[in-house]
């Protein structure tokens, strides 16, 4: 059950004829999207109940994330922002690891250091996210340069939003990528909003994709609700990049259904009508429809997928809530490979304060 709902990363080419996705893989995609959707909804509740401290939902962006991730190989490097949970799932990150991060329990690979959603999973080449917008873009370009120098036939893929196209790192990253013809696939999820700023106030260029031309390569706009189109486009860009053809900028047009984060109230800046219109193109329901109409998914099979996802999620949450919290003095680890004398002294002082009961962890 858990295994099928969280497929491990399959090679991007091969079985799928003409760059299409087999019904089997479409079903895998669907399972991941459902798991992401279910998790997302639950997490918004968990935050409201005070069981996790923060959450940034991805609803509306599932097809874009899953489609892109399916076109990549395990050896490729993903540089996420803070909304890429579905990418992580598709790359084989166990749901438990994601939930552990949200709860910052002692199994959290990021050791409770970061807010929820700022994931990092080395085993799946899912580089640890940060909050500052855009910084992962130049980093992905550098990693691609390194991979090429090493002779590794891989791509790097920074994920970012429409707002991030205004960042310094977008400009520098795409420029370096163009100049050095770097194997990077820039994946922009244009969800129409950067917190309260609508896409058309972010920049006056008609599309975000065409910004690539300023750096001497090409960009392409796709319907981010169409998991197959996303998959094909990324597969294509990946192939070209690995063959030495340079980078591509992909703009996947989606819509952020939820608030920017649990700290945000979207009613202050956007209309319900707009949201309702976008929800009519819900990528999860769209794929559900296709699977039912063309690939024989029946009600029972579908229900099972949703139920499995919920069950898996509940189990993971239960585990997380039973897992001990991170150790009190662990915030003093990992500043450097080896603590400096100053840090050792600060740890000793901290421990003394705990011993004396001044600090009560």
């Amino acid at each position: 059950m858990a295994e099928s709902a969280v497929p491990s990363v399959a090679p991007a080419s091969g079985s799928d004829s003409a760059d299409g996705l087999s019904p089997q893989r479409l079903l895998e995609a669907y399972r991941t999207m459902v798991l992401a959707r279910v998790t997302d909804e639950r997490c918004l509740h968990l935050q409201r109940q005070g069981r996790i401290g923060f959450y940034a939902p991805l609803q509306g962006q599932e097809a874009a994330q899953v489609g892109a991730a399916m076109a990549l190989r395990p050896e490729d490097w993903v540089f996420p922002a803070y909304r890429e949970m579905a990418v992580a799932l598709l790359r084989g990150v166990p749901l438990q690891a994601i939930i552990d991060q949200l709860f910052s329990d002692s199994s959290d690979l990021t050791k409770g250091r970061q807010m929820p959603n700022h994931f990092g999973f080395r085993a799946q080449n899912f580089v640890v996210a940060s909050s500052p917008i855009g910084t992962q873009i130049t980093q992905a370009v550098g990693a691609a340069m390194a991979a090429r120098l090493r002779g590794d036939p891989i791509v790097t893929v920074p994920f970012f939003g429409d707002g991030a196209t205004s960042s310094n790192d977008f400009h520098a990253g795409l420029n370096f990528a163009g100049v050095f013809k770097v194997p990077t696939v820039f994946f922009c999820q244009n969800n129409e909003w950067a917190i309260s700023l609508p896409r058309e106030k972010q920049t006056r260029s008609p599309t975000l994709a065409e910004k690539a031309k300023a750096y001497g390569f090409s960009g392409v706009v796709i319907d981010g609700n169409d998991v197959k189109a996303v998959y094909r486009t990324v597969l294509d860009a990946r192939r070209r990049a690995v063959a030495g053809g340079g980078p591509t900028l992909i703009e996947a047009q989606v819509y952020r259904f939820g608030p920017h984060s649990t700290s945000d109230d979207p009613h202050r800046y956007r209309s319900n009508a707009e949201l309702e219109a976008a929800k009519r193109k819900d990528p999860v329901l769209r794929l559900q429809r296709e699977l039912k109409e063309a690939h024989g998914l029946d009600e029972a099979g579908d229900s099972k997928i949703w139920d499995d996802a919920r069950a898996q999620l509940s189990a993971a949450i239960e585990v997380a809530e039973k897992t001990p919290k991170v150790a009190p003095d662990s915030f003093l680890d990992d500043v450097f490979a080896t603590p400096t004398p100053r840090l050792a002294e600060e740890r000793a002082a901290f421990e003394a304060l705990v011993r004396e009961g001044v600090i009560k962890p």
Partner: protein, 325 residues
Amino acid sequence: MTELTLVQAVNRGLFEAMRSDPDVLVLGEDVGVNGGVFRATEGLYKEFGADRVIDTPLSETGIVGTAIGMALYGLKPVAEIQFLDFIYPAFDQIVSELSKFRYRSGGQYPCHVVIRSPYGGGIRGGLYHSQSTEAYFCHTAGLKVVVPSTPADAKGLLLTAIHDEDPVLFLEPKRIYRSVTGEVPDGDGRVPFGTARLVREGTDVSLFAYGAMVPPTSEAAEKLAGEGISAEVIDLRSLVPLDEASVVASVQKTGRAVVVHEAARFCGFGGEVAAVLAEKAFYSLKAPIARVTGYDTPFPYALENLYLPNADTIMHAARSTVKAG
């Protein structure tokens, strides 16, 4: 007088400045339609419109760079940086340009921009919504840096900042945006820069703090009184220019000093305070100068309460200082 929260006082200050001076304008991310992610600019957009309350693209470089251009032209822009943690894309404009315009032009081009930014921990914000990096800016000649800890100071220092002739970084302790309330004068009520605020008089030890560290420091002083230790509490509030005279005078009286801040200790603002005292109050010092600060690590998420100074750790340091020597 009106009872306001700290963030309401900021909002009130912005309203008053914009109403009384058409040259004042506000720009930043989500400051307009949305009223700011902390609601500090709530209502401004409706009253003053999109020309004076400008929702900008996601670029701090652009926010501060264009604010500088506006200031050179003669306006009084108040730029909001959503979190101090996100000010770094604008660092070049602040350090290389804003702080040096008057100087490098031989006085021809004063450049008066106010940058407001919420800073500090205690809101479960992790590495990137919690930092206190005031020391970077205090070390930058040509920039003034102030940090209110009460609603009255929030409005009073903000109005002084907006009407100052020099660039000012106005740091807002977001942790106490709503938890601290207080009387705020209805009129102008400007608070001059360069003056510390005496929070509580004392004779045994001087506790120096600013921003969100003032409440726990005051709490510590109160409890210490119960133990028979008379602690003086000084809210530095104006970091640049610093009221060195008050700092030195307090230690000349008490002979003992504890400096409190959230920021990492190494090369933090406490170093400057200690250095000033070790130079100018040396002969009055009866004990080593203590610093109660954040640790020299990035700012952690889950364990922030262990990372941050609190009344207990401040009391502990104060007691040790009083016992020493």
